[in-house]
C-alpha cells in the first residue's frame, strides 16, 4: 500500500524516475532489466527478450523473466509498448533507437523467413511498429520502406497494381506489407523524385493499384467485405503518396461508389465513413498534408468545366473534417445549386415558353467572389 497521497502521486515528475533503484518485485525487475539492455545497446539480447515476451515464454531469457501483466495492460504487446514509453521518457535517443531497431529487424525477419512464425509474434511486432512511431526515425523508416517495397515488387506473383487478382494468401501478404509500408511513411508533400517526394515508379504503382482495384468495384466485379478493406487501404495509399490528386479525383470516385440504395453501396458507405472518422482525427496532425488534400477537393468543387453534380455522399465523409468539412459542404451545395440552375436555364432556352429561374440571382455573388 502506497503511503503517497493521490495529490503527491500525480505531481511526481516522470523525468526524474530513477533507473538505478533496486526494483521491488518481478514486474519492475523485468522493466528495469529490459531498459538496461536498451541503454547498453545490446540489440541481440534485446531481441531475445522481446521475442520471449511476445511468444509468452515464462522461462528466464538473459536472466529476465516475463512478468504477469500489470493492471491496465490488456496484453503483452501493450505491456512492451509501456516499456518503450518509459525508455522514450527516460533513457535517451540511443536506447530508443535500439528498441525501434530491434522491432524493425525482428519484423522483417518474421516477414521474410521460411520458418514458421508464431502468429502472436507477428501480430505483436506489427502493433509495436505503430506504438514505436518508427517514421520519427527517418533512417530506420527508410530501411523498412525499402525492405517492404522489395516484398511488394519482387516477391509477388504479379505486379503490385494487380494486387486484387493475387491468390488470397498472396493478396493478404501484399495487403499486410503495404499496410506496414504506409505505417512508416509520412504524408508525401513533394512531387515525385523531389526531396520530399517518393520515387516516380512508387507513386505510379500505388496510383495504379488503387485505380485498377477501384475500377473493378466500379464495374461491379468485386463485392466481398475483405476487398472493401483492400480498396480502403489503397485509398490510404493515394492519400499518402498523392494527396492533392486524392482530393481532386479519387475522393469523388470513392464517394460515387457509395451512392445508391442497394446493400453493397450501403456497406461501402459505412466503411468509407469509418475511414473518414479516422482522417477527421489525423489530418490536423499534418497541416500541410491537409492543405494539399483540401486544395485538391476545392479544385474539383470549383471546376468551371465540370458537367455533373458531385456525389451527395461526399457530405457524409466530409462531416468528419469538422470546421473545414462544413465549409466544403457549403461550397459543394452552392456550386451544385448553381450548376443545376445553369442546366435548367439551358433547358429553358431550348423551350422558350418555360418560366425563367431565379436561382441564378441567388448565387450570382459566387461569380465575383
Amino acid at each position: 500500500m502506497s503511503l503517497i497521497s493521490p495529490i503527491e502521486d500525480r505531481s511526481v515528475n516522470m523525468e526524474s524516475t530513477p533507473t538505478a533503484v533496486a526494483p521491488a518485485n518481478a514486474y519492475w525487475t523485468y522493466v528495469e532489466g529490459f531498459r538496461s539492455l536498451a541503454r547498453e545497446g545490446r540489440p541481440d539480447r534485446l531481441a531475445d527478450v522481446l521475442l520471449a515476451r511476445l511468444d509468452g515464454l515464462e522461462q528466464p531469457v538473459h536472466d529476465l523473466v516475463s512478468p504477469r501483466l500489470a493492471h491496465e495492460e490488456p496484453d503483452r504487446v501493450q505491456a512492451l509498448a509501456n516499456i518503450f514509453h518509459h525508455i522514450q521518457q527516460h533513457d535517451g535517443p540511443a536506447a530508443v533507437r535500439y528498441f525501434r531497431q530491434t522491432v524493425v529487424e525482428q519484423l522483417l525477419i518474421a516477414l521474410t523467413t521460411k520458418a514458421s512464425v508464431p502468429p502472436e509474434r507477428l501480430d505483436g511486432l506489427q502493433r509495436l511498429i505503430a506504438y514505436c512511431q518508427i517514421e520519427d526515425d527517418q533512417q530506420l523508416a527508410e530501411q523498412m520502406r525499402l525492405s517492404l517495397w522489395g516484398i511488394l515488387t519482387s516477391q509477388l506473383e504479379k505486379p503490385f497494381p494487380e494486387i486484387l487478382s493475387l491468390a488470397p494468401k498472396a493478396r493478404e501478404r501484399a495487403r499486410s506489407a503495404f499496410d506496414l509500408w504506409l505505417a512508416v511513411t509520412p504524408p508525401v508533400l513533394g512531387e515525385p523524385n523531389c526531396e520530399d517526394g517518393l520515387y516516380t515508379p512508387q507513386v505510379e504503382a500505388i496510383k495504379a493499384a488503387f485505380i485498377q482495384t477501384l475500377h473493378k468495384f466500379e464495374v461491379r466485379k468485386v463485392s466481398s467485405r475483405d476487398n472493401i478493406d483492400l480498396l480502403l487501404l489503397l485509398y490510404r495509399g493515394v492519400m499518402t503518396a498523392a494527396p492533392k490528386l486524392a482530393g481532386q479525383d479519387y475522393f469523388w470516385r470513392m464517394c460515387k461508389l457509395a451512392e445508391g440504395n442497394n446493400q453493397s453501396n450501403k456497406e461501402f458507405l459505412s466503411h468509407w465513413r469509418g475511414l473518414w472518422w479516422e482522417y477527421g482525427q489525423v489530418l490536423d496532425t499534418w497541416p500541410e498534408w491537409k492543405m494539399l488534400f483540401i486544395a485538391g477537393l476545392e479544385d474539383q468543387i470549383l471546376d468551371d468545366e465540370r458537367e455533373h453534380e458531385l456525389p451527395s455522399t461526399a457530405e457524409k465523409a466530409l462531416t468528419f473534417m469538422s470546421d473545414r468539412g462544413e465549409e466544403l459542404i457549403r461550397l459543394i451545395r452552392m456550386r451544385d445549386a448553381r450548376f443545376m440552375a445553369g442546366k435548367s436555364r439551358e433547358e429553358a432556352a431550348e423551350k422558350p415558353a418555360a418560366p425563367s429561374s431565379n436561382v441564378e440571382s441567388i448565387f450570382r455573388p459566387m461569380k465575383t467572389a
Partner: protein
C-alpha cells in the same frame, strides 16, 4: 475432496498477496442462508467444487481458468440476465486500449491514432469499430446513468480503471502511457448480449478494486477510493465481450474522449 473455497484461499501465484482482495471478495460474495444476495450462486458453487474434484490429485487444476468458466455470462454461473436500462450502456477504456482493441483498423490506422494521442468527442460509424469490446477471456464492464465527469482521471478513479502498479519509488508506472479514457455508448436496443450483475468471479484479478454488491439491486456499484474526495460510485454491469461486427444495426456510436 477439496472445496473451491479452501483452494482459492491459498491462491497466490505471484507470492506477494496481490490476489488477496480478489480472494476476499469471492468469500464475501458466496450466496447462502446468511448471504441471500451473494452473487456467486449455489449452482456456481457446486460447479466450482466439481472443478476442484479433479482426478489428478484432487486439486483445482487451473484456478484462473476455473474462475473464467464461471464468469456471470457463462451458463455454469447460474446467474440471471438482468433487464437492460432504458439508456445507453457505456464502456470506458484507456485511450490505447480503445485504438488498439476497439478500433483495430490495421497497422497504419493504429500508428495514425497513437500519433494523434486522443480522439475528438464525436460519433463513430459502427463499421469503423472492427475490434471488440474486450478480450475474449474477460467480461466487458458497462456503466450507465449519471453523465461522466469532465476529467478522465476522475472517471477512471470512479470506475476503478486507475493504475495501481507503482514503481518502487512511488512514481506512477504504466499510467505513463495513459493520456485519457474513451467512452463508447451503445444503445440498449442494439446491444447484442445479455447483461448481468457482476460477481467477484468477474473481477478476479491482481490488486482488484471490485467490491461485491450484496443488496437486491439489479446491478453492482463501483467502489472508488474513499480517500479521494468528490468521487461518485457508478452503477456497473458485465456482459460477455463481443465484436462490434455483431451489432447488426447500421448505427453511429457516441464516443467521448476525456483527457487525464
Amino acid at each position: 475432496m477439496p472445496l473451491f473455497s479452501d483452494s482459492i484461499e491459498s491462491y497466490d501465484p505471484d507470492a506477494d498477496g496481490s490476489f488477496q482482495t480478489a480472494i476476499d471478495n469471492i468469500v464475501l460474495d458466496m450466496k447462502g442462508d446468511s448471504n441471500p444476495y451473494g452473487n456467486i450462486t449455489s449452482i456456481a458453487q457446486e460447479s466450482l467444487n466439481n472443478g476442484c474434484n479433479h482426478p489428478h490429485g484432487g486439486r483445482c487444476v487451473d484456478m484462473e481458468k476455473l474462475v473464467r468458466d464461471h464468469h456471470s455470462h457463462q451458463k455454469a454461473s447460474g446467474a440471471v440476465a438482468r433487464n437492460k436500462p432504458d439508456e445507453d450502456l457505456r464502456r470506458v477504456v484507456p485511450f490505447h486500449t480503445f485504438v488498439d482493441y476497439h478500433h483495430k483498423g490495421g497497422v497504419k490506422a493504429l500508428a495514425n491514432l497513437v500519433r494523434v494521442g486522443a480522439v475528438k468527442t464525436t460519433t463513430i460509424p459502427i463499421k469503423a469499430m472492427r475490434g471488440s469490446t474486450g478480450r475474449d477471456t474477460d467480461p466487458s464492464w458497462w456503466t450507465f446513468g449519471p453523465p461522466p465527469p469532465a476529467n478522465g482521471q476522475q472517471y477512471a478513479d470512479e470506475l476503478a480503471l486507475t493504475v495501481e502498479h507503482k514503481h518502487p519509488t512511488g512514481a506512477p508506472a504504466d499510467a505513463a502511457m495513459i493520456k485519457g479514457v474513451v467512452e463508447v455508448r451503445i444503445p440498449p436496443s442494439a446491444f447484442p448480449r445479455d447483461i448481468f450483475k457482476p460477481s467477484a468471479l468477474d473481477a478476479f484479478c491482481r490488486n482488484s478494486k471490485f467490491e461485491p454488491n450484496l443488496s437486491p439491486d439489479d446491478h453492482g456499484w463501483t467502489k472508488p477510493d474513499i480517500a479521494k474526495v468528490g468521487l461518485v460510485s457508478r452503477p456497473e454491469f458485465v456482459s460477455q465481450s463481443f465484436a462490434y461486427s455483431e451489432i447488426k444495426d447500421d448505427i453511429d456510436l457516441d464516443v467521448t474522449y476525456l483527457s487525464y
